[in-house]
Amino acid sequence: MPVLEMQGITKRFGPLLANDQIDLTVEPNEIHALLGENGAGKTTLMKILYGLYQPDAGSILIDNRPVRFRSPASAIAHGIGYVSQHFSLVPTLTVAENIVLGYEGRSLLQRREMEQIVHETAQRFGFNNIPPDALVRDLSVGQQQRVEILKALYRDCRVLILDEPTAVLTPQDAANLFETLLDLRARHLSVIMITHKLEEVMAISQQVTVLRHGRVVGRRRTSETNPTDLANLMVGRSTAAVTRKANHQASTASALNVRDLWLQDRRGVALLRGVSLTVNQGEIVGVAGVAGNGQSELVGVLSGMIAPDRGTVEVRGNALKLGDPRAFNRARVGRIPEDRLKGVVSDLTVAQNLALEQMEDFSRAGHVDYKRIEQHAERLIREFQIKARPGDRARTLSGGNIQKIILARALARDPVVVIAAQPTRGLDIGATEYVHQKLLEQKERGAGVLLVSEDLDELLMLSDRIVVMFKGEITGRLDATTATPETIGLLMAGGQQDRQANAISAQPLSGRDHAGLPT
């Protein structure tokens, strides 16, 4: 008898049909993968199951009895637990406070007792290293996720939903998570895991439901399927894999030369600690690291947006004035910012956004030649296959098309250096492939590309060399042809690289160390 059934769930957001007659059945003791690309409707379906959205049609059955969830509280009461992608924890409260929140049991809080109960729950499920009295903001991402799971367990959940649980984790944390999930399954819990990573589905699930464009396009027993089958279901076409450019064609002439960057924030916390690196012409250098270890600041400096306390940046041997975006622009540093919504002015048109970095080419004595801006835009729209007209406002575009505008603007002027920060974050497979192809084109025409990404597969696929950042320092330099996700993962978690043996040893991690948070 299934523990949970969703039948004919339909949900519309305006003109968008997010869920179209979706059926989902989850058995007891089952890890059920909900697989699909971004925008396939996985999260919407789970938010309906958790009472956050009301379905337009369809029914939910728990233990064969129909239920209706008007709010998360009623879903929780029926044993549903939900760990969303962006954790729903209150950073300024302690672990124990977060866990009992909403289910305190009485009006006076007994701190000691509360922490004791949380401690016992943690022990019972084998969660170590979660101090109940610590503030959540001081925990690593991996620990925060465990707090979220613990919260659901504290409320006696029987079906645990995890939304892209490994997206923010190091490979080691992900491995720990999987162990936990298998352990929970052995304790008769069911788990629904939202993911778009095929290897995760294969590694841990027993059953897979694949969604595409809001519809179920396939159901499989994991033991009876394979990654190719799942990928085809998920994408609806066979994907052309980006082939690794393993042979190092880079010249030895440097495109970008960064020396000894130091940066402190206002409180005196070091954000960059002596970062040096070189990107040669025709080379892609990947920057790996858990979010918050200085990558954003490095990108800020290399875009001219942040003036470091110390250090130099040279492009083809010419030192640039730091903290001056115009200098970087003039030196033809193409920039793809981390947050693409900050890379466009949402109320300006596509054409104006495309011209933004070279207004001097389109104006004479302060007078702007809109005709030429329009022609320029039409050319780039064709070349970069942007699905928009020159006169459309940027804010009406999808994320993928906004990213194409940014790419077009950064790449149209034959950049010497490309600084690409999380260039495929949140994009679907098609758009991701397109971005990859464009970055490889730049490499081939001799630009030096610095690729900052949290996606290890992407780094391994595209980079010639990979550097790893931890706590504002470059702690590892690897050849991408020999690097593995495991070695990079260890370095990301604060392990040290032993240069002689070219091996990596993990250093003992204290709680907050591998979060890379300022202590």
């Binding site: 954790f87 009006s107 919260k151």
Partner: protein, 304 residues
């Protein structure tokens, strides 16, 4: 000298009271994620309504109740605008201040016309004499509302840190999505904070018309609501530190009044401005480390 210090300390507590009461109310409201700029107008209308009710019924406690009710009603209006409709909190709060001030002054005109002397109560709240005759007398002999305000400091402090109500309040003000996911009704918590906070803000206004002055004038609040908002930031949203801020402002005000009375050779305008200038400086220093409730000013909407 001892007498000088004792009178200044006594005046400090008196002057701090309305700011402290309103500041504590505002603290609760801001902890839930709402900046209530309606505070200045709410204090004025509460002072007025309390005064009118006390005058017509002859009961000061009826006046207090009316003032608190005024605060609650305006709190509910703020809730309707910013919680239910999700409108901008700055605009809604300033709108309420304009509305409430206008209502108070208009009604004042209607009821008392152009009276040249401000109307006053035949009898207002009296100070409770404690150890009068001793040097401590001027310090300890205070209005009941002053003692209530001081008592509320530990009470609210414990309520915020040690009760379920406080935990939920903090959760709603820091991360309403998380609170919602935990099954807490975000709207209800915010309304609750506005109701309790509104009542306290009303009390702050009533203290002036029913106790300290026993009369009503146009300028009875004269910026005390804005000062209350400043000391909430100064106090980093913690009742005990808000008390410290209120005492700092009250102390400067008391000192300034005393210096005027002593005839210090400074223009009185300069002395009048002194507490405000020093408050701005204190705020500028304390405000650097202020840790705002993360959801302050953000209306909560469940997507979908």
């Amino acid at each position: 000298m001892i007498e000088f210090i004792a009178t200044v300390l006594g005046a400090t507590l008196r002057i701090s009271t309305p700011i402290l009461l309103s500041g504590l109310g505002e603290t609760l409201i801001e902890r839930a994620g709402i900046l209530n700029l309606g505070i200045e107008g709410t204090m004025l209308l509460a002072a007025f309504n309390g005064f009118v009710v006390a005058q017509t019924t002859g009961s000061l406690f009826a006046g207090l109740a009316a003032a608190m009710l005024t605060g609650v009603v305006l709190g509910l209006l703020m809730g309707f605008l910013t919680v239910t409709l999700g409108l901008n909190q700055h605009v809604s709060g300033l709108g309420i201040t304009l509305l409430a001030s206008g209502l108070a002054l208009f009604s004042f005109r209607l009821l008392y016309g152009g009276a040249s002397t401000p109307p006053s109560l035949p009898e207002s709240f009296r100070v409770i004499p404690i150890l009068s005759g001793t040097p401590l007398g001027p310090v300890l002999s205070q209005y009941g509302l002053t003692y209530l305000a001081l008592l509320l400091v530990p009470v609210l402090s414990l309520a915020i840190t040690r009760t379920t109500f406080g935990l939920r309040l903090r959760a709603v003000g820091e991360n309403p999505e998380a609170a919602d996911m935990a099954g807490i009704n975000v709207y209800r918590m915010r309304y609750l904070a506005l109701i309790i906070g509104g009542a306290l803000i009303g009390l702050g206004g009533a203290f002036l018309s029913l106790a300290q002055l026993g009369a009503f004038t146009h300028g009875i609040i004269s910026g005390r609501g804005w000062v209350a908002i400043a000391i909430v930031i100064f106090g980093n949203w913690q009742p005990v530190k808000v008390l410290a801020g209120a005492l700092l402002f009250g102390g400067l005000q008391a000192l300034q009044l005393r210096l005027q009375a002593e005839g210090v050779p400074l223009p009185y305008e300069a002395l009048l401005a002194l507490p405000y200038i020093l408050t701005i400086i204190a705020l500028a220093i304390a405000g650097r480390n202020a840790s705002y409730p993360a959801a302050l000013l953000k209306p909560y909407r469940r997507e979908g």
